[in-house]
Point group: C2
Chain length 212, copies 2
């Protein structure tokens, strides 16, 4: 298998942090997003939606959802488990990971794509032109602040975002918070102390520090 | 475990069709969305986001993502498998299911929530007020048409949306197509013949007919 990727972009970073925590190395094909290589006919032939990352399996199957890629990688190398062990723990992590994606990451992406000049006519992923809607930039920032408040409340109850163990959901949350800092210019509010405690612990993990 | 639900709404319907295909019966608690019972303080204490469905496990864990709920139910009753068997098949189904959710179901929901009069100030799920953006109604319809074109192209190659076997991804796609008919007034275009063939086969499955 091989990973089509551009490691510093937010979505690919989710997979790279996952690989780093697993100490798993796989073949990489760099697709330079700064040169819009992901929008080329060549890459569209691999993945018509033109998003990154894409995990190409040996049978030719191409996976483009970060979560589906991580789930497949977990089946390839189960240890350390990042998607849970018991059915209940797996369900909690899956549910929380999706909650972070829908309420946090999508909010930041929506805001960023509707405000960044280079995203003009790319308000949604893909090659079809989609005009920016400036109201969505403001709404994205507001949604992201709500997300941080809710996440802080969750972290008041548990060590990590989906329970007492580090999981893939922490990776999704970390990527979301970091993306918002540069993409939306929304820093973490100091008063969210549980979030601050969690951010410090997760961002300082050896695998994550080594990966960035 | 028990399912907090309002069976005719699109998201709960995903879980009900999944249960029907599994021939699995679980305790249900009806939360009447027509009376906005899901927005009540009582329900917010169970699930602060105030969305349906919610699967409450015996240990008190509440799952609110349809896909996470279905995955947990698959672990409770593996047969018939609706999430795949081999790691590669599971990955293909997971990836396609998420693609349908992001590009189809979210497009329809976005369109519906930004045009329906009763969704005023509820352009996003939850109790926080979010104003409608009329441009998103038109964009939702356009995105949904693109989704149908892409889905038709996929169904030109395979019997079901994620391969040669019926899966949870077909349920998500069916719910999306039906929701668009009443929510966005976008019917299935007759010229998408692969989609028509698939829709006929899936909507006429005994479990699905019996459920609706």
């Amino acid at each position: 298998m091989k990973l089509h990727t551009f490691p510093t972009a937010p979505s690919p970073r989710r997979v790279h942090l996952f690989l780093a925590e697993k100490e798993l190395e796989i073949e990489q094909v760099i697709v330079d997003m700064r040169k819009a290589e992901h929008m080329s006919d060549e890459f569209a032939a691999i993945h018509p939606d033109c998003t990154l990352p894409v995990l190409e399996l040996d049978d030719g199957t191409c996976l483009s959802s970060c979560a589906a890629i991580c789930r497949y990688l977990e089946s390839v190398q189960p240890d350390p488990p990042l998607l849970g062990s018991s059915p209940e723990e797996c369900a909690r992590i899956d549910d929380r990971d999706r909650w972070i994606e829908m309420n946090g990451l999508l909010a930041v992406m929506e805001g960023f794509r509707n405000v960044a000049p280079r995203m003009k006519d790319h308000a949604l992923p893909g090659r079809r032109p989609v005009a920016q809607i400036p109201e969505l930039a403001d709404r994205g920032r507001e949604r992201f602040r709500w997300f941080l408040e809710d996440l802080d409340a969750m972290l008041a109850k548990t060590e990590y975002v989906a329970g007492e163990a580090f999981s893939v959901a922490d990776i999704t949350a970390l990527v979301t918070v970091d993306f918002a800092q540069w993409g939306l210019k929304v820093p973490r509010p100091d008063e969210l102390t549980h979030l601050a405690r969690w951010y410090q612990a997760v961002s300082q993990r050896p695998a994550i520090k080594a990966c960035d």
